[in-house]
């Protein structure tokens, strides 16, 4: 019962804040609403027993990625009028139609294709369980992510040092 209430509270808050992200006028509000959305997703992770991922969600997304967005927004330091002008000539109706058609297709696929199999036993996503799987079965992809992060760091530094021609 408590699980059901928590699911509805978290998911509705998640969807409302996600709508706020794309409807907010200024990017700082969007980033802060995305923070709410991330925390609700973290709550949904806990409801499904993914405790380690909940910590990762809060640490990486809320702690690192959104702070990076805030840095970028404050670094650019645009005047507020520019942000509102960027919205002026968007093709909103077409976007809404595309999104609704997409949602209808997704719902149709989910209702058609997903057979409700019984839950196959409790599987707590603790640090131990994820760590054992990560370092035994998925050792090679885990090591390859370090290359990805290295490439991202080198790419970001190279882009930051690039001289832009006028």
């Amino acid at each position: 019962m408590a699980t059901t209430i928590c699911f509805w509270v978290f998911s509705s808050l998640m969807i409302l804040s996600a709508l706020g992200v794309i409807l907010a006028r200024f990017p700082v509000y969007s980033v802060l609403l995305l923070l709410v959305c991330m925390c609700c997703v973290a709550g949904l992770f806990v409801l499904q027993g993914a405790f380690f991922l909940d910590a990762l969600q809060v640490l990486i997304y809320a702690g690192a990625i959104l702070v990076l967005f805030l840095f970028a927004i404050m670094l650019l330091n645009l005047d507020p009028m520019r942000w509102t002008q960027d919205r002026a000539r968007t093709w909103r109706f077409g976007g809404a139609v595309v999104a609704l058609a997409f949602l209808a297709a997704l719902t149709w696929i989910i209702r058609r294709a997903i057979v409700a199999a019984p839950v196959a036993g409790e599987m707590p996503g603790t640090v131990q369980a994820i760590g054992q799987s990560l370092l035994h079965e998925y050792l090679l992809p885990f090591e390859l992510t370090s290359f990805l992060l290295l490439a991202a760091i080198v790419g970001a530094v190279a882009l930051a040092k690039l001289k832009v021609r006028e």
Binding site: M14, P27, T107, L149
Partner: protein, 100 residues
């Protein structure tokens, strides 16, 4: 009783909101934020299937997705700042240098 379908529908709505954001907003930063929403929807789907099937692999893949999201945001924001330095705008419609 909340089951797999509920989580999948919630993730689908979240993904659709991301698609809507990409279609309607023209600011590069807002497009990147919408991509983050879609990443989260995919993560939620992974965790929902991992919970239903009792398989830890779905949760392991969410760890990889988060790594990819962090790398993508780092490079994407660097490109956005470069775009602003070069064109003095963040509007994706005005970045049409390749359109010749």
């Amino acid at each position: 009783m909340v089951g797999l379908t509920h989580y999948l529908i919630a993730a689908g709505i979240l993904f659709t909101i991301g698609v809507l954001g990409i279609c309607t907003r023209r600011n590069v930063l807002m497009i990147l934020l919408s991509v983050e929403l879609m990443f989260n929807a995919a993560n939620l789907t992974f965790v929902a299937f991992a919970h239903q099937r009792g398989d830890i692999a779905g949760q392991v893949f969410v760890v990889f997705t988060m790594t990819v999201a962090a790398a993508e945001v780092t490079v994407g924001l660097a490109i956005a700042i470069l775009l602003y330095r070069a064109l003095k705008t963040l509007n994706a419609d005005e970045a049409k240098l390749l359109k010749w």
